[in-house]
Amino acid sequence: MARPIRLCLFVFVVLVSVLGVVGLVAPPAAEAQKKILNIAAKEPDTLDPHSSTLGQSQAISRFMFRGLTRFAIKDGKVTTAEVEPDLAESWTLSPEGTIWTLKLRKGVQFHKGYGELTAEDVKFSFERQINKAPGTRYGVNLDVIKSIEVVNPYTLQIALKSFDPIFLLRMVGYQNGYIISKKAAEKLGDQFKWSPVGTGPFYFERHSPRDKIVLKAFDKFYGGRPQIDEVHWYDVPEDATKLIGLEKGTFDLLYPEAVTADFADQVKKMGAVIDRRGPGGQERFYINMTKPPFDDDRKAIKETMYPGGLARVATSCVPPGYFGHIPMEFPEHNPELAKKLLAEAGHPNGFTIKNYFISKSFFYPKVLTLAQEQLRKVGIIVELQVVDHATFHENIRKNLDPFVLYGGTRITDADPWLSLFFDSKEIPDPATGNNGTNFAHYRGIDDLLTAGRVERDVKKRATIYHEAQKRIQKDLVCLPISDVPGQWARNPKRVSTPFDPEYGEFSLHYSYNYPELLKVLK
């Protein structure tokens, strides 16, 4: 009886041992001499920089593409609200403020022999988005443009519908600002999304679906060839696996799904660092002023959310680092005061919010669970329905949640930020199909937004947005929880960055602003 069982066990042990030994005697990597940067992140859904809203897709875009302007490096830090020339070497604005003339840097080469960058490429890059070419996502950010005229191969004129105070920010190499090769996009068509051609420091080499993407250093990069020879971007969905890989040395950089206290602790224990870049996203609650129990008729109940909701570290509904930010004054977190206010509002025993929908992805469950616990102490019971992210998006646009937890990163200026989240045009309405993000259903700053868009005096513009934040504060429609930096874990013994890990880069790229400055160490 025992013989075949022993045989089974023997076969099993031998198999495992042999495969283990294969690992021990596996030949050294043939490309050991190359400087390879190994990144663990999720797989991008496309490499067309104008076509994805996912963080990992935008992060990898920065390795391959550049824009006319870039976030300025000042005092060893990368700023956000200031720009400097990149593919454009200079620009002028007409006296009436609607025509920009941009001169391009000469000799900039596209990857894979697609030739020199010209004004035609810039015109094509913007027009494909303005014309809403299938798959493009950011045309809305370029709607201010009336026409684009190529003056000569190195000069173009962009006419605006009206003065735009943040035009140069829109031209930053970020989302809609990236310049692609017209010749490549026209030649490759639908294939362009997996055969991208830009002017960045790395070019696309190959993609093994659900495995990795390989980028290679671009010898003709106008900023000089990067020190790193290759970038291997692995599709690693699980943060635990990423951490093991960082400790083992399989990965040099991690783009985590969420940086929890435990994640940060483990990174620190293994001698790695977390590079924090900000302003990144902001997590905040929008309180729907048209839906019970927090509608304006019951303002007293709404007031309980401030001392009774989540303890906050964010200071304003416009994150710091964004043009126009000022600290707002909200009531301190104080559960006792919240209970008292709730009793005064006629709910001494609190109340229950049923079927509150929350996404199971990203930071949502973590933050909402904390808020749920703190609201419970006050007497507000929130019964959660955890749903997938797409369902959450749909339900919050159907106004099913009386207050909405939301996060986001946008161009670093109060105008696009406030316009997206507080302009009455953005009130979601299933009846009209409006999928906007004004979840508070707020109408209180429309006049200020209009005024800000035409104001050319920088100080006056700032004052307008300060006033907008004060109104939002008074009307209790937004509860900012925390400003969340973009965070990657890095093995400092393997990779160096010239910028301070603590907010040395204030960027929006979901990645390092200048990947060409990263260095692989011995």
């Binding site: 283990g20 690992g23 299938p134 798959g135 639908d190 692995y234 890989g245 399989t250 797409a390």
Partner: protein, 334 residues
């Protein structure tokens, strides 16, 4: 026999159609718009309408349904909404990874689970053997593959550095060599490729196999218990046959039918288990792809993957049914 197989294939058609229809409508009943999922919160109403049109989602549901079935007949599942790749190509690349993971974990589960189940049944009156084996089986049943996977990675990949942390090895290369005939001209390269694939496969197969071995062991135990209580076993023992012969010649053979049934069920369980296993071990495969596709409301990708899953389960069960006749001559197919 051939008539039986033909009949089973005919029965499989409505089953497949039913599964495909359920998937098609279930994906559309799920809340969440693929365009909102893809375009994010900056998308205007016009942009979303344009996206819906580009993806063909503005057509009547019946038209979409018929189109989907018609294309599927030709193994054309359309293009992935998100990544743009033809779904058939995508599945063709991913399926071999999932298939070998399921097969390897089946081997692990069989090698571990069946002997344990048999020993546990035969030594059921010996608490020193039976109890530890039952505890082991319970541990396996209650141990999530996710947790065991992380544990194996920490011990065998991180600490002992015996196995790779991620990836599925160069399976594409191995298959290409098989397809082009290079396996005969460059046998050593081929074997090196196979070793690399097996090297990457070991830990995931162990993780999935061990958790499933517990189920196999419990089912084998009850199958063996049922068999050894039969009259013919008692007769064999009464004739003075050695216990080893009784077990191998009589009990084990008669246990094969329920064991085959277990294997059929096992493939279905293993296929669902690949979702977590592929995620933890960062292996390419259909399981991981399916979860992402459902989350992103990538209808063509999810529909294609589930269709392939269903076909695999139907085929495996058909093979199992046919094997019944091989292992038990009393069974015949008409």
């Amino acid at each position: 026999m051939l008539q039986y197989i033909a009949r089973r294939f005919l029965i499989a058609i409505p089953m497949l159609l039913g599964a495909m229809s359920i998937v098609f409508f279930a994906m559309r009943v799920l809340p969440g718009d693929p365009c909102v999922a893809m375009m994010g919160d900056q998308a205007t109403t016009e942009a979303l309408a344009g996206c819906t049109k580009n993806l063909g989602l503005n057509r009547p549901l019946a038209v979409q349904y018929v189109d989907y079935l018609w294309r599927s007949l030709r193994f054309d599942f359309g293009n992935s909404f998100r990544q743009g790749y033809p779904v058939s190509d995508y599945i063709a690349r991913m399926f071999p990874h999932t298939f070998i993971l399921v097969m390897a974990s089946a081997v692990v589960a069989a090698l571990v689970g069946i002997p344990l189940g048999i020993v546990s049944a035969l030594k059921r009156r010996n608490p020193l053997v039976d109890y530890p084996l039952r505890i082991l089986a319970l541990l396996g049943l209650s141990m999530p593959v996710f947790w065991l996977g992380i544990l194996l990675l920490i011990v065998f990949s991180l600490r002992l550095d015996l196995f790779p942390l991620i990836g599925g090895g160069d399976l594409d290369g191995v298959l290409a060599m098989l397809g082009s005939g290079e396996v005969f001209t460059q046998p050593w390269d081929f074997l090196a490729g196979v070793a690399d694939v097996l090297h990457h496969l070991t830990l995931p197969a162990l993780a999935l196999g061990f958790t499933l071995a517990a189920t196999v062991s419990r089912l084998s135990r009850s199958a063996m218990l049922e068999v050894i209580s039969q009259d013919y076993i008692r007769t064999a023992r009464a004739k003075g046959q050695r216990e080893r012969l009784v077990v191998y010649k009589h009990a084990l053979r008669n246990m094969m039918v329920p064991l085959l049934t277990i294997i059929g069920i096992f493939v279905a369980i293993a296929l669902t288990g690949t979702v977590l296993t592929e995620t933890v071990f960062t292996r390419p495969g259909l399981g991981k792809m399916l979860v992402d596709a459902i989350g992103a409301r990538d209808y063509p990708l999810a529909q294609g993957a589930i269709t392939v899953f269903t076909m695999t389960i139907i085929l495996v069960n058909l093979v199992v049914d046919m094997l019944y006749a091989v292992v038990d001559p009393r069974i015949s197919y008409r």
